[in-house]
């Protein structure tokens, strides 16, 4: 999409603020299910969103596939904005960015044939299928190339390429009516070449699903729990991270009270950070979807709440500075406050130290999912092990952690040194799912975690 088309449309704008974001997403998917190659497709999704802010109204937006008549979209967004009764909406100021350098060539799928991509998915699927009790698999190779053009009425102009390759593997093992599943995946902005060395990942997935067949459901109760980095990362993202998004608090006085800066959330050992500028992680950005550069934002320091994540709108509403966290799933959505790479900072506890004084506990690994209702949360670990007399013991399944956020954060009594980031994190918020985020943590130990499960 040539910039001059956008310039003309912006020149016609009569709203106080107007921005245009256009996207072209080319996605190739190769998906094996069991022995069947179920999907081989390349699809093109292009379109855009115009967002207008009117001082005698509110936000007006127009989203569309056809890029033919941007000027009409600008007018439509302004008209929508004026339908809203006058609201006090302001945008925190930030530097005008002009960054329209052409993308570096030969990234991602270019030069890689559909056949090579297919062969890779087939190879990983073959590894999964090589295990006798595996009855179903999914091996997906996905290559996505997003070209993004952003311009606003303040003068910011950005053209950005966001390439990504992703492999996602899962295996289902079955023994009679006992059906167990395991999965894992990875992604990289470096494209196909970064997806070539995943044989071990595939073996781990198949072995895990098979092992789960003979694992017992964990006995419900209250335990000391060691979470592996994956689960700890998902926990901090879901249970804490979403509450530090300023759009949760800025229009809700009760939420402001709950998330007041200076409140103690954890012990002295707890530091939580969101950082979209970390190199090479899944939530790493050049700019957020309002053109604000990403930054390192401490959220919790020494157990105390010290910061939150902002868009330009929430920053202005709370008299704080934008943090580069305005993100949109795609052009169907306006940017809202979202996390980038959110992690627990490593400390110095070793795994041996954490486990040594646990008589009866659970080592919970991997995250199938999590849901929170503010202070109440539920997380499903992919698998776990009982800890008995300071040693790892038998594998257990259906490990679901539940509890209260505030008491659980305060119960983190040991944090490891082995910070690791997941490369397959996706975040859903509102109607917008599938936003890539970085999720990181070292091993952590939490006292008194409630676990659903069978009765002893």
């Amino acid at each position: 999409m040539p910039m001059d088309h956008i310039e003309r449309a912006l020149a016609s704008n009569r709203a106080d603020y107007c921005e245009i974001r256009l996207e072209r997403r080319i996605t190739t998917r190769i998906i094996y299910h069991g022995r069947r190659l179920e999907t081989v497709s390349t699809v093109v999704n292009e379109g855009g969103i115009v967002r207008a802010l009117s001082s005698d109204g509110g936000w007006g937006m127009s989203t569309f596939n056809s890029l033919d008549d941007l000027t009409t979209r600008v007018e439509q967004a302004h008209a929508s904005a004026r339908l809203v009764p006058r609201r006090e909406i302001h945008l925190a100021s930030h530097p005008v960015i002009v960054d329209v350098a052409p993308a570096s060539p030969a990234l991602d799928g270019e030069g890689i044939t559909l056949e090579q991509q297919h062969d890779l998915a087939n190879r990983y699927n073959g590894i999964l299928l090589g295990y006798p009790q595996i009855v179903d698999t999914q091996a997906a190779y996905i290559d996505q190339h997003i070209t993004l053009t952003y311009a606003n009425s303040e003068g910011t102009r950005i053209i950005e390429e966001r390439p990504m390759a992703m492999v996602s593997l899962s295996a289902t093992a079955r023994d009679g009516t006992n059906v167990q599943r395991a999965g894992d995946g990875t992604s990289s902005a470096d494209g196909y070449p970064a997806m070539l060395q995943l044989d071990d990942l595939a073996r781990r997935v198949a072995t895990r699903a098979t092992d789960l067949l003979s694992a017992q459901t964990v006995v419900g109760g209250v335990y000391p729990v060691i979470c592996d980095p994956r689960l700890a990362g998902v926990f901090v993202h879901e249970a804490f991270g979403h509450l530090s998004e300023a759009d949760f608090v800025y229009a809700n006085p009760q939420a402001r009270d709950m998330m007041v800066l200076g409140r103690r959330f954890g012990r002295e050992n707890l530091n939580i950070i969101d950082d979209g500028s970390l190199p090479g992680q899944r939530g790493t950005l050049r700019y957020d979807d309002e053109g604000t550069p990403p930054q390192r934002t401490p959220l919790v320091e020494r157990g105390i709440l010290v910061g939150r994540l902002h868009s330009r709108e929430t920053a202005a509403a709370m008299g704080e500075a934008p943090t580069g966290n305005a993100r949109a799933t795609d052009f169907r959505f306006p940017p809202i406050v979202r996390m980038t790479n959110t992690y627990i900072e490593p400390q110095d506890a070793s795994f041996e130290e954490m486990i040594a004084d646990i008589d009866l506990g659970v080592y919970a690994c991997d995250a199938i999912g999590g849901q929170t209702m503010l202070e109440t949360f539920s997380f499903s670990a992919g698998h776990g092990y009982m800890i008995r007399q300071g040693q790892l013991a038998e594998m257990v399944r259906d490990v679901v952690l539940a509890g209260n956020l505030f008491s659980t954060l305060a119960n983190i009594d040991a944090i490891g040194s082995d910070l690791a980031f997941s490369r397959s994190g996706s975040c859903g918020k509102g109607q917008g799912g599938g936003l890539p985020v970085g999720i990181g943590a070292p091993h952590i130990r939490i006292q008194d975690v409630a676990m659903g499960g069978r009765q002893a």
């Binding site: 069991g34 190659l37 179920e38 081989v40 497709s41 390349t42 699809v43 093109v44 999704n45 292009e46 509110g58 936000w59 007006g60 937006m61 127009s62 989203t63 596939n65 890029l67 929508s80 904005a81 809203v84 009764p85 609201r87 559909l114 056949e115 009855v135 289902t172 009516t177 006992n178 059906v179 599943r181 419900g220 209250v222 229009a251 809700n252 009760q254 939420a255 009270d257 306006p334 199938i368 999912g369 849901q371 209702m373 503010l374 109440t376 949360f377 539920s378 997380f379 499903s380 399944r397 259906d398 679901v400 539940a402 509890g403 209260n404 008194d448 409630a450 676990m451 659903g452 499960g453």
Partner: protein, 441 residues
């Protein structure tokens, strides 16, 4: 013939020259939505969508592509054919022109409803919820959509369907210190109906009833699931009757058609013919006529949900449940899930519970291993029932069990039914003995 139809026919004939069977699927939609945040109107959005998907069978293999951008026939056909080189070998036969039922899923007048009227609906909902709790944060989203889907294929089908949808989604968030109440409800229809009033009443009831708190200990107890709360029981069943899981052999019900699986009081339909529902349609997204079918009749497994491909792989006929987004191949999906009403009024069911729970939502729905029927979820919104009375909201509990064991003997279902998530019409379901674990130390 309209320009769009001509374009689709041109695409079809271009693809037909390269493929034994060819299909073109196109969607166009326009929607308008408004959002209230914290009780105030904040934004208004106009959304236009269009796109075309091509599916072809080339040498017995499936090729697929889709675009929302340029629809030049040549590159599109080329991409579809290229993907067929690696595509899945399937012996499916695209349907010809088949007679469909007349199903009411489109109200042309919805598009003409002035925006001011939508704003009025929002204000009315907010006023009702404020009455229930003046301090809570109330968000309301209202959307009206008009959609047209066109499908033509080389077997002679040409299906042109219009649909409309009116959605009102409302949520409340109440924080008293660290005590949190989050609850939501919604109403969907194909016309501007007043269903949203009932949704607002239900939500107001939830807020008011959560004002008092109550306690419950671990143990086995009767649990009455509201229609919204019943999703935790229905989700495993829905996955198990889905043709994809049946065909892959991962469904525990794969080879059990005709068997008594659930309590005889449990009858569940897939009904695409319910008038005035956004999920209703005369044809599915592959041009197969839709019809009403029992998935479980008096507890006996009667039918699976199949699209063309899963039906072909299972050696049977599609049940008219092919569903697709623009950018992916069709997969089986239920239209409206309708459960038969029970015989007892809800009020009587509650008064019969000596000590138990009323569960309206759980956290982490679908996490874990739902295909196996197992669930283990903390309650989101739940109430204690004591001596036949609802005494207050209870927190810090988890439910665990397996739906195949629990639904073998249910304690009954209510006469009253409600629409949940726009497409599930469900009664309250009473289970006599559910494992409840208190999760607070």
């Amino acid at each position: 013939m309209s320009a769009q139809n001509q374009h689709l026919e041109d695409l079809l004939s271009a693809l037909s020259r390269k493929a034994e069977q060819a299909e073109v699927f196109a969607v166009e939609s326009e929607s308008t939505s408004i959002s209230f945040e914290a009780g105030e109107l904040k934004s208004s959005l106009v959304e236009e969508t269009r796109g075309i998907a091509l599916r072809g069978l080339v040498n017995g293999r499936v090729g697929f592509t889709a675009t929302s951008g340029s629809a030049d026939p040549e590159p599109l056909v080329e991409r579809a054919v290229a993907s067929a080189r690696f595509g899945e070998p399937v012996s499916l036969a695209l349907p010809g022109a088949l007679p469909g039922r007349s199903v009411s899923a489109w109200d042309a007048s919805l598009a003409e409803v002035p925006l001011d009227r939508l704003v009025e609906v929002g204000r009315e909902v907010i006023a009702r919820l404020r009455e229930a709790d003046p301090s809570a944060k109330i968000d309301v989203d209202i959307e009206r959509t008009n959609m047209r889907a066109t499908l033509c294929n080389s077997a002679g089908a040409h299906v042109d369907q219009q649909a409309s949808a009116f959605h009102v989604v409302m949520s409340v968030e109440r924080l008293r210190g660290d005590d949190v109440l989050m609850a939501h409800d919604s109403a969907s229809s194909t016309s501007l109906t007043e269903d949203y009033r009932e949704a607002a009443e239900r939500l107001a009831w939830r807020i008011a009833t959560a004002d008092r708190s109550a306690e419950a200990d671990s143990g086995q107890m009767p649990v009455l699931f509201t229609p919204a709360g019943s999703m935790v029981l229905l989700l495993p069943l829905l996955m198990a009757v889905n043709g994809q899981n049946v065909q892959r052999g991962t469904s525990p019900l794969a080879d059990r058609a005709g068997e008594q699986i659930l309590d005889t009081r449990f009858t569940l339909w897939d009904d695409p013919t319910v008038p005035g529902r956004p999920a209703s349609a005369a044809y599915d997204d592959e041009g197969v006529p839709c019809y009403r079918k029992a998935l479980f009749r008096q507890g006996v497994l009667e039918s699976f949900l199949l699209d063309l491909k899963t039906a072909a792989l299972l050696g049977t006929a599609s049940t008219g449940n092919g569903a697709r987004g623009l950018f992916s191949l069709p997969t089986p999906s239920a239209a409206n899930l309708v459960m038969d009403a029970g015989e007892r009024p809800l009020e009587d069911m509650i008064s019969d519970v000596e000590r138990g729970l009323l569960v309206d939502s759980v956290l982490g729905l679908g996490q874990g291993n739902p295909l196996s029927g197992a669930f283990s979820n903390p309650v989101g919104l739940a109430y204690v029932i004591e001596h036949g009375e609802i005494t207050g909201r209870v927190k810090g509990l988890s439910l665990a069990g397996n739906v195949y064991e629990l639904l073998r003997t249910i304690g009954g279902t209510s006469v009253e039914r409600q629409w949940v998530r726009g497409r599930y019409l469900l009664p309250h379901i009473l289970l006599p003995k559910v494992d409840v674990v208190r999760s607070k130390a």
